[in-house]
Amino acid sequence: MAERSFKAEVEDLRLGAGETFTGEGILALTKALLENGVGYVGGYQGAPISHLMDVLADAQDLLGELGVRFEANANEAAAAAMLAASVHYPIRGAVTFKGSVGVNVASDALANLASSGVTGGALVIVGEDYGEGSSIMQERTHAFAMKSQFWLLDPRPNLPSIVQAVSDGFELSEVSNTPVMLMVRIRSCHVTGSFQTRDNQKPKLSVRDALSNPRSDFARVVLPPMSFAHEQDKVKNRWPAAEKFIRERKLNEVLGPQADFGIVVQGGMYNGLIRALQRLGLADIYGASDVPIYVLNVTYPLISGEFLEFCAGKDHVLVIEEGQPEFIETQLGSFLYRAQSAVKLHGKGLFPQAGEYTGQVMLDAVTGFLKTAAPAMLAAVVRAPNMDRPAIPDLSKTVPIRPPGFCTGCPERPIFAAMKLVEKELGKHQIAADIGCHLFASLPPFEIGGATMGYGLGPAANAAFDGGGERRPVAIIGDGGFWHNGLSSSFTNMAFNKSDGVAIIVDNYYSAATGGQDVMSSRADNATKATKNPISKALNGIGIEWVRQIDRTYDVKKMRDTIREALTTDAPGPKVIVASSECMLNKQRREKPLRAAAIKEGRRIEAPRFGIDEAVCTGDHACIRLSGCPSLSLKRLDDPLRDDPVASIDQSCVGCGNCGEVADAAVLCPSFYRADVVHNPSAWEARLAAFRARVIGWLQRRRDGKRLVFGGAQ
């Protein structure tokens, strides 16, 4: 993290016994790791768990004092593999990434880890990116826990519960020799609240000490015949040990009164359920409920005995399980069937099969359940008269969608403007995209890139086309994707298979979409990370010859010509363009304060911004179709002669240059100008400017003296 400081958050990590932490869930979780004697932490950034990584990266001093190793892993697989340290050594380790995509990448290591089993507590913190605000495919991490048999915690979404889950998770892992996954949903990560802190604990055995006393045991190696023994160990020893711990420590909670019906809920959905009950008048503000609730803070494994005890004396039970397939509901149904129970199980059906359980969904489903299970409880609400509500006009045709897009001044915009220009010349191409900010190019106005197959897999996704054809396939990948997995999975694949394809690497100096973390090729100095390793050097290293490095993506003509060359050259093998310019968000973060300080100190500073001559703009918006920049917008003129709004650039423009470049490269129109305000000009510069202004003024007066000049707007 070059351009942001997390000093304040790091201070929170130092809170001791008896103090109160107030802040976001993900930071509380980070603090809990330190309180529980974690020996090493790793992970790969991504919403919603980036914060954990960013804060720990800034907490090197504290980690040093505690003897905790922190590693920003190259990808999720590397992070999960890091937990190998807990296989032989009694060291608590934690890694974090987002689910389900991070778990996909990590699954090889996770499966091996789960087979080997662990000695020290191994915790995988997964930020489940499901529902509103999610940027990934809608799947569940749950399935991975089931297939590899590691335990899955899904605590209630409040800070004390999340913090407790960390401590429970480590212990559960240790007593059952099984890695534990702690799942926190996107809103739980960002939820704010408070908890009582404890002192941070040094690990009982540090990773440094472990290196002094190495251990090995071939029984832990995933090779036959041990792999068969591992499977037996999982079901015969580890699983029962986990069940025992979960029951004895009451990790799952039974709340509310006795009744002939009840609700089973994933811990993470608890607050949503309570809100629905509150709205029905069946729970108070503190969650005291008139309905029996079985809270699954552990969603895998499910404990048959505990569940059947909850069901005893009940006729109807509702399962609240977000996402699909409904693994929990199916398993609970199986428990009931095997117990020959007559309890009627409700779940999907009342709830929609797919999609987020929003407030309305929850209210409707719980109401529907209670209508069957306890109609008397609902009477008051059901009898409530229909409120005389005015019909609210339908705005669905009015309000435009607002997907995310490139930021103001983004260096990726000119790359895709150039790509669009090339496609206008050479026709539409097969384009595969990767993961990262560049994927916004698949949306209007660029609409470039048809599919994304995973992080670092953009060029690999074009492998079927590697043999070539009339037009070359194009793949786009970011620097984050390149180092995550792209170098091996995409580029060695291209090189090895003598691909005829084109790949464009969007190098913005950061892992930008996840918050601006450093990567191998970042230009910043980083005390704990190896940066400044050029991507082009890596490409040369794997034998790719045709590499074009562009150091200013804003040069649209050069960008366009280079892409055209890549698509038309006779050179054999992969054609790779490395398009490098710094992420504008991070650049501004760094430069803005410096610039303000320099102006204050009286140093000469040029501040560029673009503008548009309204009278020259004809309102065809061709520039916007090659930009989509937030600062390039429209404005209606107060002129009855004009029908269409004209383009207009607001004060948020950072003067990146794309507008001028595009106007030139696409031969759009002469409306754009760039104004460089020179702060603290030299005396000579100011005198020259004054002289020029005098001459220009004289010329203008001369011409205006011979014609009619109209005032007001031009």
Partner: protein, 508 residues
């Protein structure tokens, strides 16, 4: 502002919980505003929980923040992590369409919701990229908000903040305080800003402006400078101008209004003689029109636009006019002592060069591929001109002064031919179908832009007119002409237009 009757909720445990949702566009400082709201609640005896799903939507997408609070007690309340339809007390939206979105999502209901919105627009890409006018209707959202909200507070909180050198999060925080919907005094809100430190002074000013706006005070608007339409210049020219103005003024009112503006436009483009020619063209149409004179009014508008075409001379003239540099300096916020450098982005092609030449010569060169290629080689290149420097300024100044040669140029001949053909086609429909003639006049709107965009506009114009010819005999021909024109303005490539034309061909 509207005030609906509050309908009491019967919920057992909901007493005292205040639910506040915030819908913003990524980059508007929604996180900062949420932080302030939390701070003011916690500092004043409330427990408070906030959540967000910012994620990748931080990059200019629509983002939701959600806050719940309740008086602190012995136990911690169970708060919800997301706003629910029909269950939001205070909805703050930091942009007009986001207000619409909050209504669509059911977060604004007449029984409980106080809606505070900024009325300014941050246009979505889908609105901006349309070749015509794709801007969504704020009026529709305002009307819906009046119906949907229990109380509705709307102002341009973005402008209020910018005027104070701050950002919208501060003015909206002020509006929240001014709305008096949270049980905290103004000072408590201000204390939350002050504890933030950085930029607090500007934030407090924006807060005050937002506070006042929410309390109903109308923000002091700078007095509108009445558009000064009277020209300045030599007495002889002014006298001729007066005569032309009078001539336009003698037209029926609806036509005169447009013709006066058109006259100004063409005189500014060329000269008074050209203005007289313009009035002549309008009068010719007017002679065939009758009340309410919609045909002549539209003709007055579009003939002016057609006659004041966008050629090199016009652009050069506009870029070298008095007052431009000063206006730009002011827009850029340049202070006394700053120097402003101006760079223009021009890209002349052979077409523009031959267009400037005398019609005969220009036409010969244009017909010769060799010459066009040669001219492209010489001239077709992006040129960045520093118009604050004398050399570049003089170059444009000289070009801008070439008006005398304009009427003999190839470009002018082409423009006149196009204009006359268009008028002839439109007026040709006049005897049989008045409305169709008006719609064809309006089709001139399609011709705009420069170079390729201009060529595309011309081609769309031609295709629309061809389509119109197919249905000219039908009673609903005018309606079809309007639909074709609107389709042509929908997208760049003319896909919508192709669709509409296919429909026409299917029955015509």
């Amino acid at each position: 502002m509207t005030q609906h009757q509050a309908i009491p909720m019967a919920a057992k445990g909901m007493d005292g919980v205040i639910k506040l949702a915030l819908l913003a566009v990524g980059g508007q400082g929604g996180g900062v505003l949420t932080g302030w709201i939390e701070a003011v609640a916690r500092a004043n005896g409330y427990v408070c929980q906030a959540t967000s799903v910012a994620g990748v939507a931080q990059r200019t997408g629509a983002t939701v923040y959600y806050v719940e609070m309740a008086p602190a007690g012995a136990k911690v309340p169970v708060f919800s992590l997301m706003p629910a339809a029909g269950d939001v007390d205070i909805m703050i939206t930091a942009e007009m369409m986001e207000a619409g979105r909050s209504i669509m999502r059911g977060f604004v209901t007449p029984d409980r919701t106080v809606l505070i919105t900024s009325t300014h627009r941050a246009l979505a890409v889908s609105e901006k990229m349309v070749p015509g006018d794709g801007i969504a209707s704020s009026e529709e959202v305002m009307a819906a908000a009046e119906v949907a909200a229990r109380r509705f507070i709307a102002a341009d909180f973005d402008a209020l903040a910018v005027a104070q050198g701050s950002v919208i999060s501060a003015s909206l925080f002020g509006a929240l305080a001014g709305a008096e919907v949270l049980p905290f005094p103004r000072e408590a809100f201000e204390a939350a800003i002050k504890s933030g430190g950085k930029g607090a002074a500007a934030s407090l000013r924006a807060f005050a402006a937002g506070f006042a706006a929410a309390q109903g005070a109308v923000a002091e608007k700078p007095p509108e400078v009445a558009a000064d339409t009277a020209p300045r210049g030599p007495a002889a020219l002014l006298a001729q101008w007066q005569a032309l103005t009078d001539r336009a003024g003698r037209m029926p009112a609806p036509v005169a209004e447009m013709a006066s503006l058109g006259l100004r436009k063409v005189v500014e483009f060329q000269d008074l003689t050209y203005g007289a020619a313009y009035l002549g063209r309008v009068e010719a149409v007017l002679a065939r029109d009758q009340a309410p004179f919609e045909l002549a009014r539209q003709a007055a508008k579009y003939i002016a636009n057609a006659m004041a075409y966008d050629d090199v001379i016009r652009v050069a003239d506009l870029k070298t006019r008095a007052g431009r540099a000063e206006r730009i300096a002011a827009e850029m916020g340049a202070k006394a002592g700053n120097v402003v450098q101006l760079t223009e982005f021009l890209h002349p092609r052979a077409e523009e060069i031959v267009g400037l030449l005398p019609a005969g010569l220009g036409a010969r060169l244009e017909a010769s591929p060799t010459w066009m290629a040669r001219l492209d080689r010489w001239f077709n290149k992006g040129r960045r001109l520093r118009t604050d420097s004398l050399r570049a300024y003089l170059m444009l100044y000289v070009l801008g002064g070439m008006k005398r040669r304009r009427l003999g140029s190839l470009r002018h001949r082409q423009e006149v031919a196009h204009l006359e053909r268009w008028l002839a086609v439109a007026l040709g429909y006049l005897p049989a179908n008045y409305d169709l003639a008006v719609e064809v006049i309006r089709c001139r709107r399609l011709v705009k832009g420069y170079s390729d965009t201009h060529a595309r506009g011309l081609s769309k114009f031609d295709r629309v007119l061809d389509g119109v010819a197919l249905v000219a005999g039908r009673p609903d021909a005018a309606d079809w002409a309007r639909r074709l024109r609107e389709a042509a303005l929908k997208d760049e490539e003319g896909k919508a237009l192709d669709g509409a034309l296919a429909t026409i061909r299917s029955f015509a």
